[in-house]
Symmetry: none
Subunit: 198 residues, 4 copies
DNA sequence: CATGAATGAGTATTCATTCAT
DNA sequence: CATGAATGAATACTCATTCAT
């Protein structure tokens, strides 16, 4: 790090923040929020314990930043250029496969979001973010029901079933220690489409 | 409590052990394992903090007893007199509605099991119990696939989808602050059957 | 402590609270509030660190309890049956010698009160207590001035001079490592009376 | 500071060392030694936190330098060209009013010295400096007593009373949020002379 | 020289567990 | 048996100090 060219991973300032976020994400998934000690996060991130407090106000602030960043990333990926006028079948496939793409690339981030969905330490901004995303998804479902493409019934029920099944796919892979494969995602998509189609 | 009436505040828990188990179950669901203090459990159970250690070796032992008892109760309810020779359609309905019955009657116990599925403090016996139940369910699926009644594909995938969807139903209710209704369970059952049928 | 008569110092519950208060008083005088670590207080009091929090909500609460109790004790001793109608000369002697009595018997308590007079962590109740005592003393001064017995000038100035001189007596003793003697208190009283008499 | 203008925010402190000393003096008075963080001093001084350690070995060294410099300044002002052969009345007036001058011009420095009189982190040199000044003052008192101009009694007692009263004047002003006025200093001087004169 | 990001030892406080009653 | 006061190890967080730039 003395020579002016050797840019190592550890040397760039932004990397410390990222290292902390990454280590915390992993540990929160493995042991939960209260089960993870801040010095553990520091150790896994390869920084001093005090350094965490240069980047985040508190342990709560840290978990909220992670949630916010991942949720935003997820929402953006799922909804950017959403084919609002396409047939329901295609809309469903698009959403499902985009979610699959995110979950496959960031399995821990996905599990993290699931686990912290309703944690008491989520701040108001994150609660609002969560609610907003839910509304967006629900609107898609309602519109599709109005077109007669989906089964009738409470939209929240349909949403719960589909999202639950999606999480179930990931879980079944995690329990087998494997990464979800594309083929499985496509099969699951087919299955769930037949579940909800009118 | 010194008076001869012996009418306690609590709905007559069979004994202190039950009171502790009930209080701990509730608190672990509300605040998580690490988020719950042992004296809190004692207070809600209406016993002294030290008393908990007469019935359970440690906080970890306590959470494992709860998991074991609830999982066993659930497995028994779901599988007793399982109609092994009935048509797959009926088998599925039976399993789903029995699970629904359990989850509706013991929502906290069900959520508790979901939350602690892969907790690092679950002991080996519980991990084995979990695995055994999984095998039992999987066998049912494999047999049904062999009969050509269910879609092909990894049994664990089908299982994950169905169990995930089931949890999703509960979640959608919890998020609306309602109890899952029978009608919704039946609708969901219909939906998921169409998902997995061949 | 098993026999029902051997009442030892450490055995009585109230003693722990007193031990903590005493140890904290000493340490706050020796090293200041921020310079004293809670475990140090615990060690000198002969209790576990956690025990302090069974008796006091926080380190701040502890310092406020000490201040409140000592100030109240001081105020009571100084003002009980105050000879409101006696000649000013006697009133002054009474106050001075009562204060001297308190300061001689509780030198650390007195120094403690001096040091924490305007500490930022004193709570509102203590600020009010302090103000009330000040008003009481000031009223005595004003009345004596009105009778023409004391020099004219701002009452707060007279009060400041007298109280400052009183503290100065204690300091001069503390610096010599001695306890203020009765003879010195009487001499100082005579000196300060001649200072303020009309 | 690279530009040729060199007009800084601060009232042109001779240099960074002075800025640090001034900021530290203020903060130590406001919040105490342990209550003041080194980076706070740096910020108020308008320098980097690390810079403080180029001028002072440690926080303790810093507080000792302040004490030493202020005490020396005070002693010099009070004692330079002291009228050793003048009448006691004039000697007292001279000392008192010089002290008043210092305290009025440097109220924070004066309060600082009072607060740190017996701080455990004062080094040996400062303890000696303090003792030396005390001896010097005491010699003046002893000589005056020998001339029969002051009351008999322990010199340290007389000194304590006078110095205590002096501090009391400042306190009474501080508590009223005012600066000590010249008239009050003269009145107080008169009062204290009558206190100690034979 | 000056800086401030980084550090880790140290702080107040909590909580699982014990044990005298 | 049941209790809850007492404990001290562990936690989140702060801050004096260092050192690469």
């Amino acid at each position: 790090m003395a020579t002016h060219e050797t840019t190592k991973r550890e040397a760039r300032p932004a990397d410390k923040r990222e290292a902390i976020l990454g280590a915390a994400l992993e540990l929160f998934v493995e042991r939960g929020f209260y089960g993870t000690a801040v010095p553990e996060i520091a150790e896994r991130a390869g920084v001093g314990a005090g350094t965490i407090y240069r980047y985040f106000e508190s342990k709560e602030a840290l978990v909220n930043v992670i949630y916010r960043e991942e949720k935003t990333r997820f929402g953006r990926l799922a909804l950017v250029d959403f084919p609002a006028t396409a047939p329901t079948r295609e809309q469903f496939r698009t959403l499902w496969m985009r979610m699959a793409e995110f979950a496959t690339a960031n399995p821990k981030a996905f599990v993290f979001m699931e686990l912290h969905h309703h944690a008491p330490y989520l701040d108001a901004q994150n609660v609002a973010l969560e609610a907003q995303l839910l509304v967006t998804f629900t609107n898609v479902v309602v519109a599709a029901q109005a077109r007669g493409d989906l089964k009738q019934g409470p939209p929240s029920l349909l949403m719960g079933i589909v999202m639950g099944a999606f999480v179930g796919v990931i879980r079944s892979c995690v329990e087998h220690g494997t990464t979800p494969e594309h083929a499985n995602w496509k099969l699951a998509e087919q299955i769930m489409w037949e579940a909800i189609r009118a």
